[in-house]
Symmetry: C2
Subunit: 268 residues, 2 copies
């Protein structure tokens, strides 16, 4: 239980003060903070809310989205990522989770080139802030418009090409990676690059491309098996529950939080 | 145009005699025959219908679905695949397209073992019938319940392990493979294993996991680029248009056929 963290998007109806209070009351000590949860108040106040409830900001979610059509868009993406690194530092989050981005208007190879260049351009600011850039490979079904980085192997190749900078790590989400026949070997290869581990489940059938994830145990992902592989690399960090689900979002949030705790203990 | 083939599921409202007549009138010489289109008449009559309209059965679609929970299901899958090989031979189709199968109740590794064993068990009958088993890797979003073979690399590995039997080939569908960063190298590696090439497009957004494919040119897949890579291996076979689309299925089918021809000439 002391490694359980919850992404604020998981309990979407709660604002930051409510989520912090509810997590604390449930004995949850970590949270993945989505950027919209920081809006409307100074960063120092968000930090104080977390501190007051004994909640560690495990990650700030999310930066990335590097591909662009114009030089204005390119600059705006870099600016936004640097701002996100500042925000992460301000709330004490050790990592910024990156969704690489993709644009259907661009050849996939071009999106991938933009991503690599964008990451390289953010390294200095990551070093200055002390916040790690945690690249999260996304499921191939998002390759058109969300992420052109779609396997852990591809992310490992990318980090190799960048020279394995210490400012970068990898966020491994079972939802995106579970199907991959090369998963075990790529987790091994990633080794201590893995700085984030996200859990949820894959439902059969899945009715929506974005918002129909399952609570752990509701689907077919071998979460415990993947966790063992990740921990075999030495990973001892937080285990982050990140569930987008219209179904769960319409459920009573207090009961949902209790079910998350139960599912975590039983299926993670 | 002389390499264009259309899967009967693409023009779903037309039965076999209608599809054969419409394809012939449009100058289309090949068809991927889905098994339901053979029901209700003797195989010899289906063959005669195709022959009378100068339509070559390019492929029979589909066999596979090897994973099982009981020994009865196991036997039934093998029986059905052998029957499908017989049907393919009867209508003159040189290959049976295989969707490998997957079951959310099984560990992925177990589904994959069943698939490998099932394929091995069908080789003899493939040799006897002279029909090739064309394994089609399916998009990772189908790994839960349709296919545990999800990349061309994985299919190449599988064929390696089976000893590259001449009774087996690979069906490469751009919809399933386009996102893969290893695609070009795995097409090269597949070489003359590629015995089928299927085209359609990936829409942004895609609204349904199964039936929201695009007509070529409507989406973001670099179909011409992938075709060049496939043809660089020596592939000179049919190019099969396979589109599952509630949207197109509700369109006037004669106009749709004309749009398929236009899209094929412009975007394939």
């Amino acid at each position: 239980m002391q490694r359980l963290a919850i992404h604020t998007i998981t309990t979407k109806s709660w604002d930051l003060p409510t989520a912090a209070a509810k997590y604390q009351a449930a004995g949850v000590g970590g949270a993945g903070i989505w950027r919209p949860w920081l809006e409307g108040r100074p960063l120092t106040e968000s930090r104080r809310i977390l501190d007051d409830h004994g909640i560690q900001a495990v990650s700030l979610v999310r930066g990335g989205f590097f591909p662009y059509l114009t030089s204005t868009e390119k600059q705006s993406a870099l600016d936004d990522n640097r701002r996100a690194l500042d925000e992460a530092a301000a709330i004490g989050a050790p990592q910024l989770v990156l969704v690489a981005g993709a644009m259907p208007e661009l050849p996939l190879s071009e999106s991938r080139r933009h991503i690599e260049e964008g990451l390289a351009a953010c390294l200095d600011h990551a070093r200055i802030t002390g916040v790690k850039l945690a690249l999260e490979p996304l499921h191939p079904m998002y390759a058109d418009c969300r992420s052109a980085v779609n396997t852990l192997g591809q992310a490992n190749d990318l980090l190799d090409r960048l020279g394995s900078p210490p400012e970068m790590g990898l966020a491994a989400d079972v939802y995106h990676l579970w199907w991959d026949p090369a998963l075990e070997q790529e987790i091994l290869r990633a080794g201590d690059r893995i700085c984030g581990f996200h859990v949820c489940d894959w439902l059969t059938p899945t009715r929506d491309f974005l918002n129909d994830r399952g609570l752990m145990g509701e689907g077919c992902i071998d979460i415990q098996g993947i966790r063992r592989q990740v921990e075999a690399t030495g990973f001892e960090g937080w285990i982050e529950v990140e569930i987008f689900s219209d179904r769960w979002w319409s459920h009573d949030p207090d009961d949902y939080l209790q079910q998350i705790l139960n599912a975590y203990q039983k299926h993670v």
